[in-house]
Amino acid sequence: MSQKHELSSSEEEYLEAIYTTQEGKARVATTRELAACLGVRDASVTEMLKKLSEKGLVNYTPYRGAMLTEAGCTIATKVKRKHRLLERFLVDICGIDTHESHKQACEIEHVISDKAIDTLSAQLGHPSTCPGGSAIPESDSEDETDVSRLSEVKEGSYTIRFLTSAEPETISRLCSLGLIPGLTVRVQRTSSKGPLVIETKDTQIALGRDVAESLLVSPEAMETEGRRRRRRRGAPSAATPG
C-alpha cells in the first residue's frame, strides 16, 4: 500500500477501535461493539465504516460489521503502538493515573510523528507492554508496506504475521499444523486462481485461496530472529544439535 492515507483523528480512532475489538480474534468487529467501544450511536458507526471501506481500510459487511484490510491494519497497528507507548510514558515518567493517561494518549496519538514516537520508544527502553499489560506492536516502519496476503505473494519464503480467518475449523486446523503468526513458510506454488502449495516443518500443505487470503505475511527477514528456520533443501549447515 504505497499511497499515504490522509486520515482524520476520528477515522484513526475508529481503525484503532476495530483493531482493539478484532485484535488477534480474527473476526468481524460488529457495529454494536464498535458503538459501545467508542461511545457513539450505531448509525454513526455504520456511516464511518462505509467511509473507511471506500478508502480501502476496512472490509465492511452491512449488518455484520467490519474487518481491517491490510492497509487498515497497518495504520491501526501504528496508532495502537503510539497509544500504548504514550500511556507508558504518561504513567511511568509523568506519573499520571491510568484513566487520565488513556484519555491524553487518545489525543496525542493522532498528532505525534513516527520519528518522535520511535525516539520515545527508545528513550523508554523499548517497552513490550503498556501499563495495562497489553503488548505494544513493534515498529516496522521500514517494512510496513511488505505485509500482504499469502494469496497475493510470489513463490518464496514468508513469515506469517496475522491470522484473520473467522472460521473456527480453519483456525483450529492451522493451529494444529503450526501455521500461526511467527512461523516461516515457503510458498512453492501459487497462481492467480486455485489453491497454493506451501511447505513448512518438512510438510507440503495445500491451502485454499480463501484460507491464504486470511493469512497476512511479510517476506522472511533473513537476519532478524535469532532462530532462523532451517530450510529443507538448503546448504549442508543447519541442524546439528546444540
Partner: protein, 649 residues
C-alpha cells in the same frame, strides 16, 4: 522381554493414534492381520476399529483411532478419536509418529503426554529417512520426550512386534520417567498456575487439564463448574489481551516451539537431492502436468472398470446361469414340491449371482484402484488439483475424495464424508454422492442402456448425471444452512504402495457392500419371487401407471422394477428381465424407453442401504428429504428426456 505379567482374562487394550498418513492403518493391518475379524466398536464410535492381536500367548485388543493432527477435534472422525482417548480406559497408547515429518507429529505427542496418557512412540517410516537424507537419534528422542521410542517400518512389518510388546509392557516399566513438558510463554504459564488450584481431582494431570481449559476446549469446559469456568475465562481474556491473538494460537505456539526444540535436537539433515517419489509428487501437483495425469488415471480407471468389469461381469453371470444353476435347479425341483420353497431357492441363487457379478468385477476393481491411489498418497493431490473446480458446486477439494468413492459404492463414500470439517459440506457431499452412478448403476448403464439402446445413450446418462451434480451442488450451496471451511490439507509424500494395507482398506469398504446390501438383495429377491408366484405383482402396475406410463412413457410392467430398484439398484434390471419375461430388452422396449428407464433408475431414490447410511450419518429427515428430492428430480428429468426424444424421433 521377560514374561512377568500375570495372564489375566481380559486382554490388554492398546490404542493406535497418529497423524493422518503417518502409517497408522498399515500398523493396524500388521498387528491384526487381514483375515482377523475386525469389527467396528458398537454404539456411537463406529469410526474406531478394533482388532484382536496376539503377543506370545496373550491376547491384545488393538484399537485403530481415526487420524488426528491434534487433540482439538474439527471433524467427526477426529472427535471420535478424542472421545475414545478421554473415555475409554486403555493400557497404552501407541503414538505413530511419521519420522519424515517429525516436528509436526511431535505436536500431537506432546499433547497426549500433557493429558497423562500412557504413551509409547512408534517412530514410523524410518526407512524413508535415508532417502530424504535425514537421521534421527532414537536414544536422544527417548531422552527428550521421556517415553519409549520404537523405530518401525509398518508397511514391511519391521519393528511392529517390538512396538506392540513395548506398549503391552508399558505398565511394567521399572520407574516412571518424567515426560517432556511443554513450556509456554509467561502469560500462559501464569494463567495455568492460577487455574491449577481451582481444578477438581481427575485422572487427567492438572496441568494438561488447565491447558485444555484455557484453550477453550468444550469437552473439558463441561467438566468443571460454572464458577471455575468464569475464572478461566478471565485468565483467557488476560492472555488474549497481552498477546493480541486467540489464546488457542498462543498455546499452539508453545507446543509447536517445544516440538521444534526436540526435533532440532534429534534430527540431523544432510544435503538432499529430490528422490524419484518427490519428483513424481512434484509432477503430480504442478497444474501443467498434474491435470493430464489426473485425467489419465481417472480415465484409465473408468476404462478398466468398463471393459474388464463388463467382461468379467458377463462371464460370471453366464457361468452361473449356464453351469451352476441348471443342475442346482434340477436338484431342488426334484427334491422339493412346495413351489414357494423352490421359488425362494431360485431367487436366492439369482440374487447371489447378481451380487457376485457386480461386487467382484466392478466394486472390487474400483476399490482396489482407489486404495492404491490412497496408499501411495495420490488422493490428497486430487483434492488439491480439483479444489478450484469444487468451489463451483459449493465444496472444497477434500470433498472430491468421497465423491470419487461414490463411483464405487455410495455406502463407504458417505462414511468417508466424516472427514469433512463442517456439516454443510457433509450434507452437500452426501446428497451429491446419491446422484453419482455407483457400480450397481454402472452395471445397469453398461448392461442395459449401452447394450440394448446404444453406447451414446449410456454416455448421455453419465453426462446428464454429471450436469445434475453440478446443478444440484450449486442449488444446495445456496440453500443448505451453515458454512464451509477453506482447504487446509497436508500433502503426504509419495510412497511405494504396500499390499497389506491396500487389501485391508479394500476389504473394509467391500464389507459395507457385502454385509449391508447383499442380505437385502437376497430378501428382496425372495419376496419378489413369491409376489410373482402368487400374481400379486400385477396389483402394483395399475396404481403406478400414471407415473410409469403417463410421465415417463415406460411400459406398465416397469413399475415393479422401479420399486425393487429401491432395494438394490441393479435389481431393477433383474426384475425387468423377470417382469418382461426376456433378457432381450430391445424386444419389449424402444431404445428411448430403455434409456429413460436407465436414467430414472440411475437418479431416483438412493438404494435402501444408502438410505440407512444417510439416516445414520446425517439424520432420518435428511435421508427422507434426499430420497424425495431424487425421486422428483428423476421424474422431471426422465419425463423431459422422454418427451424430447419422442418429439425428436
Amino acid at each position: 522381554m521377560h514374561e512377568t505379567t500375570v495372564t489375566r482374562n481380559a486382554p490388554k487394550r492398546i490404542a493406535l493414534i497418529g497423524n493422518p498418513s503417518a502409517g497408522k492403518s498399515a500398523m493396524f493391518s500388521q498387528m491384526t492381520g487381514v483375515n482377523v475379524i475386525i469389527s467396528n466398536i458398537p454404539q456411537t464410535t463406529v469410526m474406531v476399529q478394533q482388532g484382536l492381536s496376539h503377543l506370545d500367548e496373550h491376547n491384545v485388543m488393538v484399537y485403530d483411532l481415526p487420524g488426528v493432527y491434534s487433540i482439538t477435534a474439527v471433524t467427526e472422525d477426529e472427535a471420535a478419536s478424542k472421545d475414545f482417548l478421554l473415555s475409554t480406559p486403555i493400557d497404552a497408547v501407541l503414538d505413530i509418529v511419521d519420522a519424515t515429518r517429525l516436528e509436526r507429529n511431535l505436536y500431537l505427542t506432546l499433547q497426549l503426554l500433557e493429558l497423562g496418557l500412557p504413551v509409547v512412540v512408534a517412530l514410523n517410516q524410518v526407512d524413508l529417512l535415508k532417502t530424504l537424507d535425514l537421521d534421527i537419534d532414537v536414544a536422544d528422542l527417548e531422552r527428550e520426550l521421556g517415553v519409549q521410542v520404537v523405530p518401525t517400518i509398518a508397511t514391511q512389518g519391521e519393528g511392529v512386534h517390538t512396538a506392540l510388546e513395548t506398549a503391552y509392557h508399558y505398565a511394567d516399566q521399572p520407574s516412571k520417567r518424567t515426560h517432556r513438558q511443554v513450556s509456554y510463554d509467561d502469560h500462559v504459564e501464569r494463567a495455568l498456575a492460577a487455574i491449577i488450584p481451582l481444578l477438581p481431582e481427575t485422572s487427567i494431570p492438572k496441568r494438561g487439564f488447565a491447558v485444555r481449559l484455557l484453550g477453550g476446549d468444550k469437552d473439558f469446559e463441561s467438566r468443571v463448574d460454572e464458577r471455575t469456568l468464569a475464572r478461566v475465562r478471565e485468565f483467557r481474556d488476560d492472555v488474549e489481551r497481552a498477546h493480541g491473538e486467540e489464546v488457542a494460537v498462543t498455546i499452539a505456539r508453545g507446543q509447536h516451539s517445544t516440538a521444534d526444540l526436540i526435533a532440532s535436537a534429534v534430527l540431523v539433515r544432510r544435503v538432499h537431492k529430490p528422490t524419484l517419489g518427490e519428483k513424481f509428487g512434484e509432477v503430480s501437483t504442478r497444474p501443467r502436468t498434474g491435470y493430464p495425469l489426473l485425467f489419465a488415471l481417472v480415465g484409465g480407471m473408468l476404462a478398466l472398470i468398463f471393459f474388464v468389469g463388463g467382461y468379467l461381469s458377463s462371464h460370471i453371470t453366464s457361468f452361473f446361469e449356464g453351469t451352476v444353476f441348471p443342475p442346482l435347479y434340477g436338484a431342488v425341483n426334484a427334491q422339493v414340491a412346495n413351489p414357494f420353497i423352490t421359488s425362494a431357492v431360485h431367487s436366492t441363487l439369482l440374487a447371489l449371482a447378481a451380487a457376485l457379478a457386480i461386487a467382484v468385477p466392478y466394486i472390487l476393481i474400483f476399490f482396489i484402484f482407489l486404495a492404491i491411489l490412497e496408499d501411495v498418497g495420490y488422493l490428497s493431490r486430487v483434492a488439491l488439483l480439483l479444489d478450484r473446480q469444487a468451489h463451483v458446486i459449493g465444496l472444497h477439494g477434500r470433498s472430491i475424495i468421497p465423491l470419487l468413492f461414490g463411483y464405487g459404492c455410495s455406502v463407504p463414500a458417505i462414511m468417508a464424508t466424516r472427514a469433512l470439517p463442517t456439516r454443510k459440506e457433509r450434507i452437500i457431499t452426501t446428497a451429491l454422492i446419491t446422484l453419482i452412478p455407483c457400480s450397481a448403476r454402472t452395471a445397469i448403464i453398461l448392461g442395459v442402456a449401452a447394450t440394448y439402446a446404444g453406447i451414446p445413450y449410456a454416455l448421455a446418462i453419465y453426462l446428464i448425471s454429471f450436469v445434475l451434480i453440478i446443478a444440484v451442488g450449486r442449488l444446495l450451496r445456496s440453500t443448505v444452512p451453515g458454512r464451509t471451511a477453506g482447504l487446509v490439507l497436508e500433502i503426504p509424500l509419495i510412497r511405494r504402495p504396500a499390499l497389506v494395507p491396500i487389501l485391508k482398506k479394500t476389504w473394509l469398504r467391500m464389507k459395507e457392500f457385502l454385509y449391508i446390501a447383499v442380505p437385502l438383495l437376497v430378501v428382496g429377491s425372495i419376496v419378489f419371487g413369491w409376489l410373482e408366484l402368487t400374481g400379486l405383482s400385477r396389483f402394483v402396475e395399475a396404481p403406478m401407471a400414471p407415473i410409469t406410463v403417463g410421465i415417463l412413457g415406460l411400459p406398465a410392467f416397469t413399475a415393479i422394477c422401479l420399486i425393487y430398484g429401491v432395494l438394490r439398484k441393479e435389481m431393477a434390471v433383474e426384475m425387468l428381465a423377470i417382469a418382461s419375461g426376456t433378457f432381450i430388452f430391445s424386444a419389449v422396449m424402444t431404445p428411448v424407453q430403455i434409456f429413460v428407464f436407465c436414467l430414472v433408475v440411475t437418479l431416483y431414490v438412493p438404494c435402501i442401504a444408502t438410505f440407512g447410511v444417510i439416516a445414520r450419518e446425517l439424520n432420518a429427515r435428511w435421508a427422507v428429504g434426499i430420497a424425495i428430492f431424487t425421486i422428483v428430480l428423476a421424474l422431471i428429468v426422465g419425463g423431459i428426456a422422454f418427451r424430447v426424444l419422442t418429439f425428436a424421433w
